[in-house]
Structures are given as C-alpha cells and as structure tokens.
Symmetry: C2
Subunit: 252 residues, 2 copies
C-alpha cells in the first residue's frame, strides 16, 4: 500500500474520522481528487465508511456504540494510543499473554498485527478484535458479563485462569495512589486481576495519567506486584518521583 494511504489509515485510526479538508491540510500539495480516491480505496478495503466530506473508521464507530451501552466515555484517546504503542515493546512472538479489559487495552489489541501469540482475555470485545490476527490463538475466560466495563468475571473465570499459564499480563487500572496501590471499582473484577497477576511471570500495567491520585474501592495490586508501569507524560513529576522512589521501571 502507498505510504500516503498508510498515513491516512493511521490518521483515521487515531482520530476516528478524517475530513477531506483536514487531509488537504495534511497533504498540501496533493489534489483533493486524489485524496478522495484514496478514501474510496480504503473503503473498498473495508475499514472505513465514506461520509459527507470525508470518512470514518468503522472500528471507531463500533467503539462509540459500545460506549453508549456500557457506562464509560472514552477520554484521552491519544494518550491511550501512545501508551498502547509503548506496551507493544513488551510483546514477544510465541508467548502466552493476558489482555485485561478496558479501553487502553483495546488500543493495544488493535495494534497487534500478525504476531504468533497465545492470547487470553476477560473482555469479549477485545477477543473479537484479536481474532483478526490470523496467527493468534484466542482464549476467552467464561463468566458473567459486566455492563460497566464489558469484562467477564465470576467463579468460572477464576477456574479458567487456574488452568492456564501466562508469560506477560497487560493490566488496566481504574485508579492508583501510593497508599492504596492499583484499584478498581468492582470486587469480582479485582479477583480476576489478582489471579492473573499471581499467575503471570511479568505484569505490565497500562495507566493513563488521569488515573493517578484516584482510588477505587478494591485494591488488586501494589507497586511491588507489577514489573512495569506504562503511562503518559501528563503525569506530574512529583507523582513520577514518588513512584520512582519505589520503582525504577516506569515508562512514559
């Protein structure tokens, strides 16, 4: 595929939408006719739907729709995207990984290309995203589906996790404070995360900076339990120092 179309595709991925006028600014010396033709080709490819004056990413639209029914509203998308990109570095071909539920992890799932991986997850939407990778084996934990965060939990999920091995676990968090550690809003969810962390050889937490300083009811891990923490650079240097005091491997 042409480089220009790759850039447009990425733009679509990140912004959800691309207006023709935006693209014209992005490529000042390309005619609008050509950009229009590019969008048309992307549509034939299947990832995009043409709208008046531009195009929208279908996966983005589905995500919006999901959010309509689950509670949350996704914010800090570009930060989350960056965090996900950093997390990619911890992926090794042929490994068994766990993907937690959550929008940041969804971005990570979308970045997975054709790596041979054994993926276990507690989020059906993430499983469906991963299945697009033809070389991945996808396992989904069973259980009750929570409307809040679209994640599965319950005794069956825990049973499932008992029977598998995990090299690297990518975990999302709803809150973090030095005092309470990593926290989430749901007891069942905390149970799952705890179990995953206990079983994984390497634990990587993905957290955008807005979560810092917030505490949710249930703690599922402390700083000592995780091997890497990936966040964005909107985190205050004070916070950064506090964490680094205890731990060197914070990434941003």
């Amino acid at each position: 595929m042409k480089e220009r179309m790759q850039i447009i595709k990425q733009y679509l991925q990140e912004n959800g939408e691309a207006k023709l006028v935006d693209l014209e600014k992005l490529f000042p010396n390309i005619s609008s006719m050509t950009l229009r033709r590019d969008l048309k080709r992307l549509e034939e490819f299947g990832d995009v739907v043409l709208t008046k004056g531009g195009a929208k990413s279908i996966s983005h639209l589905s995500r919006i729709k999901e959010e309509l029914y689950s509670k949350r509203l996704v914010e800090n998308t570009s930060e989350k995207n960056l965090i996900a990109k950093k997390a990619l570095e911890f992926l090794e071909e042929g490994r068994s990984i766990f993907l937690d539920s959550g929008t940041t992890i969804m971005y990570l799932a979308q970045l997975l290309e054709k790596q041979k991986l054994f993926i276990t997850t507690s989020a059906p939407n993430i499983a469906l995203e991963c299945v697009k990778n033809p070389n991945a084996t996808i396992n989904l934990v069973g259980g009750e589906l929570s409307r809040d965060n679209l994640s599965l939990s319950g005794i069956n999920a825990l049973d499932f996790l008992n029977n598998i091995n995990i090299d690297t676990a990518f975990i999302a968090t709803s809150g973090f404070t030095i005092k309470n550690g990593f926290t989430c809003g749901n007891y069942q969810e905390a149970e799952i995360k705890k179990k995953v962390i206990a079983k994984a050889s390497k634990v990587i937490v993905l957290m955008d900076s807005s979560k810092f300083g917030k505490s949710m009811p249930f703690t599922f891990a402390t700083l000592d339990d995780v091997h890497h923490l990936i966040t964005d650079d909107n985190i205050t240097s004070e916070a950064k120092n506090k964490i680094n005091l205890k731990k060197q491997n914070i990434l941003m």
Copy 2:
C-alpha cells in the same frame, strides 16, 4: 419516537443502508428535507452514521467487518430476520435461555428488547449485543474462540454448561438432512451444542431453508432431539412433508 422514524429505523436495520432516494419513494408525500432531518436525528441517537446520500446502520457495518475476518459471508438476511422474529414468540420473561452462535441468532439477539432474561451464550459478539438490554444477565461460556464462526468451545465451555440450567435453547445449524439430522462443521462446536441440547428443557432450531439438504461432518442432534424447528417458506414442500412426517411443530 415518531412512527415515520421507527419505520426508517427498521428499514435501516433490515437493509443496513437507506439512501435518501429510497426513503423518498417509501414516503412519497414527505419532503426530502424532512427525511434528511429524520436521519440526522437517528444519527444523534447513535445507531446510524450519515453517509453521502443517506445513512448506514452501525451494527450492520460492524457485522460486515466481522465477516471480513471470520470466513462466512452472510446471505439470506431477510429470511434470517423473519426466522428470528418468529423465534421471539418462544421467549418468556424471566427465563434462562441459551443463544448459540451464528448470524441467524445474531438477528434474534438484536430483536431482544427490555425483557428480563438470563442469557447464556457461546458467542462473544452475541453477548455484546445482548448487553444492550439493561434487564438481561449475560453469561458467556469460556474457551477458545474459533475464527470460523466466532464461537467459543473447549473443555472449559463444557464445564461451564454443566453448572447452569437452561429453559430454552436457541440453536443454529449449518446443515440438515433427514438421514444425518442437524450437522455442523466443527467437532468442538458439536460437543457444545450437544451439551446444551441435553441440558435444555426446550430446544428450538433456527435454520434458513438454504441449509436443508446439506450435511456437515458432525451431527449434533436428530429431529427427535429438538422441540421446534423454525425456517422460512423457501423450503420445498417436499422437504416440509418429510419433516412433518416425523414432527408436527415446524414453523415457517
């Protein structure tokens, strides 16, 4: 919501797309400006995306995208929709039901409104559709996700099913012949279906007429195992007679 908008919404649901010119034909004495405004309101509602000259249903788009990655291509959509509508009659508020994987069942899931239901399913995409119903409890079987039909299977899925009770099971099939009964293309999937059928008090098979006369490798049920068979009226009367010879409760 206005009746006209309801009709448009249904049109969108069934056709995936509505061009303005189509709507103008559908409502000959409504101005195109008004229809345009209707589509705009539907967009704000979140279910559709406006395109050049009309609108497209987002869930339809996501389905198309799913098909791009799983193998199948959905055919006979209007038949499947009709079958799903007939299946609705077998739903009773407050019951425990099982939803199989498959596109016909997906149509059924989309028709579920606000009934209080306890839903178990082996298909993550169907689980995500059902979660939009605020009164349903959704349970998803665990296991490995098949790329072919987006369904979960394996020992964990069977375990899960062992521990739940099912009033009514809605099952899809890939093929049916008098000789071989109901068949599907995957051993693991057949195991799941068998288990569900064994546990359910009432078994309803949804099958569009194109499946009749086709045999797949694995039989998961015979006519005697199922209580109702719902199909469309493209089925030959010969086939109909053959089935009715054995069974009275065929619906079409």
